[in-house]
Assembly symmetry: C2
């Protein structure tokens, strides 16, 4: 493939300074159009390809951060990714995103330090891979973990206290006078871990109230609208009567709203429904969806801060943070008298 073309080669070819080439590459706003064209022509002629814009020639860093999440099309992750782009921007970094699809093979690929390519570090929301494997695969690569799957204490981590969040949501249903509760979200595929915490919080709140669940935890393949609707169908078809539904996330809850309506049940009059995440969708649903707000922007900001901290000092002490959350009571759980 011949000798690697360098910035110097481009500068020589264009008869300009190295910093002029650098300015063109970085899209510096003050670059004159004539300069841009001249440098571009040289770059094009020589086939020069810097690894990434914002490449810091002194530090050897690229300013690029990789974010690995299970699924772009899940609004929770889409909103989280959006917040991470904004946070990275503010920190002078550029973010690229990869989707792991809750597949072990993909999560391994994401965790492997050698897959970072030109990126300086990884922000990773794992869903099936084990902590030990994450640790081995990351090697010495800068890494920040997101979410509730990982409990690694050797790595910077922005976690989610799912037990507490689910407890608060369930208690809200009880406080609204609901006493025959079901939960939807037992995953038959992918990660059994997350739902176990959410179930624990649900059962904890029921026990404190001296109650039992009105039916088995509604099984779903994934936390989608479609699966939430199907779980309601199955619970109703099996003859379980309930006046409150706690869903492991908002998408399930939106699916549940749709299925309850199909069955002629009124929300909140007949059945109250609450989810987790506060995705935008729930704010515009009919009825509007009660949910647990999880501060995704805070999460993204802290993750970027922690990554920057590691880049500045690889020996910095890992921090384990827990994302702020609170109840958002909307129409779907309104007290009905």
């Amino acid at each position: 493939m011949g000798r690697q073309v360098t910035l110097e080669d481009v500068a020589a070819e264009a008869h300009v300074s190295k910093s002029s080439v650098s300015n063109v590459i970085r899209n510096h706003p003050n670059v004159r159009e004539s300069m841009r064209q001249r440098v571009n022509a040289a770059i094009d002629k020589l086939g020069y390809r810097p690894q990434a814009i914002g490449q810091n020639l002194v530090s050897g860093r690229t300013g690029l951060v990789s974010l690995a999440i299970p699924n772009f099309a899940q609004p929770y992750f889409a909103e989280l990714a959006r917040a991470a782009v904004a946070a990275a921007d503010d920190a002078g970094m550029r973010l690229i995103v990869q989707q792991t699809d809750n597949l072990l093979e993909r999560e391994r690929e994401a965790a492997d330090s050698w897959n970072l390519g030109s990126a300086d570090g990884l922000i990773f929301s794992p869903s099936v891979i084990e902590d030990e494997e994450i640790e081995v695969r990351r090697g010495r690569a800068p890494l920040v973990l997101l979410g509730e799957r990982s409990k690694l204490s050797s790595v910077d981590r922005v976690g989610i206290d799912s037990v507490a969040i689910s407890h608060t949501a369930t208690k809200h249903l009880l406080d609204q006078g609901r006493s025959r509760l079901v939960m939807i979200g037992d995953k038959t595929f992918g990660d059994p871990f997350v739902v176990s915490e959410r179930e624990a919080g649900f059962h904890q709140a029921l026990e404190e109230a001296g109650l039992r669940e009105a039916g088995p935890v509604g099984a779903v393949r994934d936390w989608t609208r479609e699966d939430g609707a199907r779980a309601v169908d199955e619970l109703l078809d099996a003859g379980f009567g309930f006046d409150g539904v706690f869903c492991a996330n908002d998408l399930l809850a939106l699916g549940a709203l749709s299925a309850l309506r199909r069955h002629g049940l009124r929300v909140p009059e007949d059945v109250a429904v609450i989810g987790i995440d506060d995705i935008e969708d729930g704010r515009f649903a009919s009825p509007t969806l009660s949910t647990m707000f999880i501060d995704k922007e805070w999460m993204a900001r802290e993750a970027v801060r922690l990554l920057a901290k590691q880049l500045a000092d690889p020996d910095s002490i890992p921090e384990q943070l827990s994302v702020p959350f609170h109840l958002l009571a909307r129409e779907s759980t309104a007290l009905y008298r």
Copy 2:
């Protein structure tokens, strides 16, 4: 930074063959755990970093494709990105995604061939950048354009015929007996181009029916639920009476549904509402949302195919394709007698 560590160095250090190292790096399923550990230890010791998994050592390609879209959190783009990941998978490629936020500077960065880093090519959905600039910046980098913004004929492109799509949507409202129509989606920020095509289709259908719009096109900052709701508020506050709303996308339509409900107007009895995109959200809305289906999976598959074609033959003739679409009539436009 010293001499670059090679695959050979790792093989020598671990006393294994180069192909064994390659298998470990690619997460080949048949690699024994002892081999994996041995190679990982050598990689870790030497600090070896291949650019990306799947790196084709013969062709100099990485198997990596970059997808640049305006916004992860817009369900249309989230679903498109998800489809593109699946299509890239099937083609043996790995996809990374970057968000451009409808910002000219970011779209320039995305279009610049030197920003591809280790990626073999770019699939780009532009929203504000001019075609001429895309062409100059891409240089000789493999590029496939998505969406309706670009009309470049020198590049492979999977386009959207917004005029025809909007015409069909508007005609559906008219066919349902609605005669006082408004449109929502005139962008006050970002790309004025897309909406002009959608407006053209709207007005074309009205003219054919001998009608005029019942109010000015509802202005929005962006195509979000929030902006759709606000546009309905403004049109109603300004005293425009209407029995049909054509929205430039589904998010606007979902926001419109929410606002109409707030104003005590029934959908579809008082006002029929239709959007464009067929995002999952609309299928579970109450009422379910009528919309124009745009085949995002086809779009993603064709984009990946076209990129692979360019990689196989840089001199292949550019193709311009138009995405298949059709009307999905649901509850929000049901005929009301």
